[in-house]
């Protein structure tokens, strides 16, 4: 499909301005497939024609549609498994003790896409009803993509999606077969997660302070400066004894000084200890 380098630059600028994400070289190969349904729907003969319309008409609905199509919504339940096992084993047990009086744990899934990771956590809590009896577990999940958030809220997944990463016992326990290859997560879990449209580089959602933040496979698409902004947002929103989970291939090293590796749980991150005033002055 025809796409001039000028059009590529326009699409890249549009995506970065709207989402903070970069249309890096490694993502450009999929522009064709990502936008092909929009071309068909609107009758454009080429990608260049679509870009020309975006530039000339300021059609907000079309612009939104293009940006959403360029975002990578890849996700699945308990993605990578190990970090979830770590989180649920170590930091959560620590928080359970630390929050024993208020009996409240707050979680933010930043860049939640279609909701599988947020629901993975909701399922993990629901699987232990006695342990969490009387606790208020607040799971807030945000994503820039309105269509992804709407799908997440519906809790409806294709046969292909429902089995990626999800143990069959949990699927049987928490999903209802709708027919036609669609499966819907139980109402109880849909009500356990609050999904909102939001960008990671904007102020965090309510309640604004979180014990656990998941931001998985999101920041790798950001330019370094935007990534720093996102880390600053998360650092301001995380509790001092909270935990941050990034994607399997992501790290804080060389990206921010606001978080450090959790020495007891490799692959998880904790807020960097506050520097004393004297140390800060020397630095």
């Amino acid at each position: 499909m025809e796409l001039s380098s000028a059009s590529q630059r326009i699409l890249a600028s549009l995506l970065e301005a709207r989402s903070g994400q970069q249309l890096t070289f490694s993502r450009r190969w999929r522009i064709d497939s990502a936008l092909s349904s929009i071309l068909r729907e609107h009758g454009f003969a080429s990608l260049d024609q679509l870009v020309a319309r975006l530039v000339s008409s300021r059609d907000k609905a079309l612009t939104d549609q293009v940006v959403e199509a360029l975002l990578n919504n890849e996700t699945y339940f308990f993605r990578d498994k190990l970090p979830f096992d770590l989180l649920l084993g170590g930091p959560l047990a620590k928080l359970e003790k630390a929050r024993a009086r208020e009996r409240r744990i707050t979680i933010w899934c930043a860049g939640c896409s279609t909701g599988q990771e947020a629901y993975s956590l909701a399922m993990s809590f629901a699987d232990e009803p006695n342990r969490w009896l009387g606790w208020r577990i607040e799971i807030v999940a945000t994503d820039l993509s309105r269509s992804a958030v709407e799908r997440a809220r519906s809790g409806t997944y294709s046969q292909f999606e429902v089995q990626r990463g999800l143990p069959v016992m949990q699927m049987v326990r928490w999903f209802e077969e709708l027919g036609g290859g669609e499966w819907q997560i139980a109402k109880k879990l849909r009500e356990a997660v609050r999904f909102e449209v939001g960008n990671i580089i904007e102020p965090p959602p309510s309640p604004g302070r979180f014990d656990i933040i998941l931001c998985r496979n999101v920041l790798l698409y950001f330019a370094p400066e935007m990534r720093r902004m996102a880390f600053n947002r998360m650092a301001a929103a995380i509790a001092p004894d909270g935990a941050l989970m990034l994607g399997a291939g992501e790290t804080v090293l060389g990206q921010t000084d606001k978080f450090v590796s959790d020495s007891q749980h490799r692959g998880l991150y904790v807020p960097a200890p506050a520097r004393s005033a004297a140390t800060a002055r020397v630095a």
């Binding site: 089995q163 990463g165 069959v168």
Partner: protein
């Protein structure tokens, strides 16, 4: 290296599954039906079995019941991999001793995640 026995009467499915499993560092053996699979298990018990449901000679369910009812000292993990995609079949498979369930069609990520769930990847 972990071993996997792929049991499916479709040569194409066996070939695709073999390719995926080999990229996940599994050694792979194949069987065309439940009877052949039982013979393979008698010779050398694999770590995991990827099992189709509908096959001639002996179905996946018949195979699983025979395997779980046997006095083999070690039992492999069994992952059903089938087009029987309704909740009734899934419950029946679990009741018969399946560890996991893959609804066809599948891809590498799905197989990988199911092998992680049963502790083999």
């Amino acid at each position: 290296m972990k071993s996997c026995l792929v049991v499916d009467d479709s040569k194409v499915i066996r070939k695709v599954a073999r390719h995926i499993l080999e990229t996940l560092n599994f050694s792979v053996d194949e069987a065309e039906d439940g009877r052949q699979a039982l013979n393979r298990c008698e010779e050398a018990m694999p770590d995991v079995i990827l099992l189709d449901w509908n096959m001639p000679v002996m179905s996946g369910m018949e195979f699983l019941r025979a395997l779980r009812g046997s006095d083999q000292p070690t039992q492999p993990k069994v992952v059903f991999c089938t087009t029987e995609n309704d909740i009734g079949h899934i419950r029946a498979a679990i009741a018969a001793g399946a560890d996991e369930y893959v609804m066809k069609p599948f891809d590498r990520e799905t197989i990988h995640s199911k092998l992680q769930i049963v502790g083999l990847a």
